[in-house]
Symmetry: C2
Subunit: 600 residues, 2 copies
């Protein structure tokens, strides 16, 4: 299955075009502004300054360049273009004659180049390569690709030919998937060879790790083909698995693809929040044990959800399954979207599923404060990987919608858009994510495969106005296209309870509410205090209200009210109330407040 | 209300006599052995050694001496006596001519004596004074009292007369309550003056605190009379409040007693676990905000429960209320008892209300492991304040049973015992805590006041075989004693649900089960995995089984069983099962396993 690249998908009116426009008009520029103010863009000029830059500032800039590249076609912008060109020129000018480029090591630790495994050099190189491929593929700037190839050549020489670097694999995977992209863009075999080499070597020797972590942290506890359980730092994990899936597919390496499938299953069946979040612990930003999914302290890094979606997309390229796209949908509409504020300016690094604002405020007063997730989004972090990761993801979101396989055009996500593929001219006008209807017009000769979302309660399908029961297999409906074919689809979308496996001890006895692809939440702002003590007996009389800002769901509920004592032999009374639920992604846009996903 | 001292109460057959015997025969000796092995007893000789002792080793030894003193009457032991005398001699020999004694400062930091507020010098002095008073009062050893008085005199000179010490109040309250004890034992006014001075000065100036904490940590954020909310390190808090109650009572200081009453109410109405535990956070071992009572990470230090019971006892001396004794009962039969293993050898420092053994085991594999409570008791800790605190508490537990006021003999706790007070010779034969019956024989002329426990479902009272409806006021039943009076009491004891206030977000929608004074829990050993997903619809058919080891309760329950997916639109099935509950205090006596107090 080949995805139809986002560059071939024209977003039309709808949810994602709005997100993408906001991304181009607000987020891209605001992230640039904050990155420029914090010295990230000037750092690439490799001039010494008072405060050394963060060791992975380069990757922040590279991810911004990648996002900017993707947005130039639909949202051309002279000023952005100028920043791209200037930045690329600065990087090219700073690149050492040998090909090496790293604004931290060149300036502050030139004697330590390729000596410190944990310090993200190859991670930064990977993002530089990804940016270069993007800029070249989008026809925005070809110069960075030459820089990247020269750098990749130097890495190839040092790590693969001479093998004289101070370490073998990078402490933070990323270079591997980037090299695959470079290989796929240029056709140059050695980049794939090097990517495979890095994968083959990981976990085969005792390499340096941070003193505070164990070997699972960067997934070097086992050779990658033997890995079956998702462990360690979640973003590292998914970047690694993404590369494993790529190399497995390109080299038909069943050892890699089998490991990837097991890892995917381990995540979706045992270690994923209902929001698509992963990596439950702030300690090492990592996976813990199966079913340990605390809500208030959920780490669920935005980057981890993004990386999980990338991994799932790569898995679909090996052998398509609706489950991969269901996972992408879950992450995309919940954890990933939640990463950004509705105004496009603020970002969450972590994404808890429950917020206790009073407790957070109290905790901040302590000098010895334990970890507490932020309850309001901010414009930039010291470690600001998530904001540019979000803008590059939102810039290419159309690429999640379609796939081509054996002449069949697959629709994985119903995003209002136009596309030409597999002999069909396709136009999709979709209510999703706010409603369940989609109008699909296809011209040409071919076949469509329409994914049936997991959240639908029933499906109705009219082809040319006639009720149709399409051939259905593995959660796809197959509909032939002959000439002008009009399909009116409706996936019945209504609020549904979702229950966690009882092994998830934090959620036992509770339920979340989903509406279409959205996980819903309640906030204190609309519902007052005491969200943990709200019981939703039924969704039968839930009222779905579609307004300007999307959708809210009003549900008759009951509020537990005790007799006021701390402990009582009397059960709490249950007072009828109306609970206002909203999509999880839209929480925390009106100041710090309590929030809850799992209800009684 | 004056409590009848434990030395006047003869424990007869029953629960507490067994605990006290085990305390004398096993715990006292085992704690001595481990303290000797770890160098605590030799430290008082003040000889330099390779590894400096902990800054409060002296307090460990002092608390052991105090416990040993209390146990000599009923459990005389030559070897223990010899250790007492040798230790006292060693302390006396090490005491500086000025009166100062501290095995850490004298040997390792003599130039810093009374210069470092946070380092527990006066805390150690306080425990030394308490031990000295105990040894003298019990007629075991009079020498330590002279040492203590000389040391107290030196403290008085430095802190109150010359005021030339490097700080004004100690970073860990304890000296204050110890000075009151010394005053009450000797009648020497200046000890009360000094205690009051330390209380008066706390919170009135910016004194040194640990750099990692704020001023609430040691309750120096406000003058003590202005304190209304229990904050900071829980043990520090209760030692301070205990002294405030003492001084308030002895000096009729309404400012102090009003503060104490508010603090007591704040704890029992907003910050106390159902087990009587307090101080919910491991970070600073402290109180957090109202209603923040996490179960799995509950800190609930054993010492804090002990100190809370001491504070409640002191409050009853100001103005008796049944609520103080209900609080003592809750702490005593749950958090405090849980601090020690059934064999008397192991101790818990922290007392969680929920255990996830797999998660704990996983966490221990991490070099960057976050705090996890121990799930098995150990014989000694580096910071081993709890074990000797428990043994001194268990040694004087009879002192919680009775009180005298205006010629009325109060029974606060029904402990099988004999006592002579208020003109009555009293004998209590009590089934409690395992059953609700008590036979009370009184001879003489006077009046009894019998506390009605909060947990009873009904009361029956026979006096001289005749059904009696005694005069009842504020949870005490008043019964005149004339001649030979036999009272057959029965408090109906059956398993009851207890509900937390809905503001306790961790417990919302759940309930605990109490049986008499015991909070019950379920362990994995008897109930298998998945305790969090067990629902107890009713206690109607609960079966109480009284066996050798106490009591277990078998309850028809339902186990949530999902369809196996991590998330499902299908509600979990409910499979009938029998849940075996046991008193919380007896958990974790058969290896690490899961445990749960709050059920669906």
């Amino acid at each position: 299955m080949q995805p139809v690249g986002f560059d071939r998908v024209t977003l039309t009116d709808g949810f994602w075009r709005e997100v993408r426009s906001r991304n181009a008009d607000v987020s891209l520029k605001n992230v640039y502004r904050r990155f420029a103010e914090t010295g990230r863009f000037s750092a690439v000029r490799c001039r010494k300054r008072e405060n050394p830059p963060h060791i992975f500032y380069d990757s922040d800039v590279a991810k911004w360049l990648e996002a900017a590249a993707y947005l130039q076609k639909d949202h051309p912008d002279e000023a952005v273009r100028a920043v791209i060109d200037e930045t690329v020129d600065a990087i090219a000018a700073s690149q050492l004659p040998c090909g090496y480029f790293n604004s931290y090591y060149q300036v502050y630790k030139p004697d330590k180049i390729f000596q410190e495994r944990t310090e993200h050099e190859l991670y930064c190189a990977g993002h530089l390569i990804e940016a270069a491929v993007a800029l070249d593929a989008c026809g925005v700037n070809a110069k960075l690709l030459r820089v990247a190839e020269k750098y990749a050549q130097y890495i190839y020489e040092r790590f693969y030919v001479k093998r004289d670097a101070g370490f073998v694999t990078c402490g933070h995977p990323e270079i591997e998937l980037a090299l695959v992209r470079l290989y796929e863009h240029t056709g140059e075999q050695k980049w794939l060879t090097l990517a495979k080499y890095f994968l083959d070597e990981r976990g085969t020797r005792a390499e340096a790790i941070y003193p505070t972590v164990d070997r699972t942290y960067d997934q070097s506890h086992l050779p990658v083909r033997e890995q079956r359980e998702a462990v360690g730092h979640a973003v590292r994990a998914f970047y690694l698995y993404t590369a494993m899936a790529d190399v497995g597919r390109l080299t038909d390496d069943r050892g890699l693809t089998a490991a990837c499938e097991a890892l995917f299953q381990d995540v979706v069946n045992r270690k994923m929040y209902v929001t698509g979040g992963t990596g439950s612990s702030n300690v090492g930003e990592r996976f813990t044990i199966a079913y340990d999914l605390p809500n208030a302290s959920a780490y669920s890094e935005t980057c981890s959800a993004i990386a999980f979606a990338l991994f799932a997309g790569r898995m679909a390229k090996i052998r398509n399954r609706a489950a991969y796209h269901a996972a992408i949908e879950r992450a995309l509409y919940n954890n990933i979207l939640a990463g950004e504020s509705l105004d496009g300016k603020g970002f969450f690094y972590t994404n808890p599923l429950e917020a206790h604002a009073d407790f957070a405020r109290y905790t901040r007063t302590l000098p010895d404060a334990p970890y507490q997730p932020l309850l309001e989004r901010v414009e930039v972090f010291d470690c600001s990987c998530c904001p540019p990761n979000l803008i590059r993801l939102f810039a290419q979101v159309g690429g999640f919608a379609y796939g081509e396989e054996d002449g069949t055009l697959y629709i994985h996500q119903y995003i209002s858009s136009q596309v030409s593929a597999c002999g069909c001219e396709l136009s999709v006008v979709s209510e999703m994510p706010f409603g369940g209807k989609a109008e699909i017009s296809a011209k040409g000769r071919g076949r469509l495969a329409l994914r049936i979302p997991t959240w639908q309660c029933s499906v109705s399908c009219l082809v040319g106005g006639e009720l149709c029961v399409p051939e259905t297999k593995d959660d796809y409906m197959y509909i032939p296209v002959e000439g002008d074919t009009r399909i009116a689809l409706e996936f019945e979308m209504r609020p549904r309870f979702v229950y966690a496996n009882e092994k998830v001890w934090q959620d036992a006895g509770r339920k979340a509410v989903e509406y279409g692809p959205f996980v819903l939440c309640a906030e204190q702002a609309e519902n007052g205090d005491g969200l943990s003590g709200i019981e939703i007996p039924s969704l039968e009389h839930a009222e779905v209200v579609r307004g300007e800002e999307g959708v809210t769901v009003k549900v008759p509920a009951r509020r537990l009210i005790s007799d006021g004592a701390l402990y009582s032999y009397l059960p709490p009374e249950k007072h009828a109330c109306t609970l206002t639920l909203k999509p999880y992604y839209s929480w925390a846009n009106h100041g710090e407040n309590d929030m809850q996903v799992w209800f009684l």
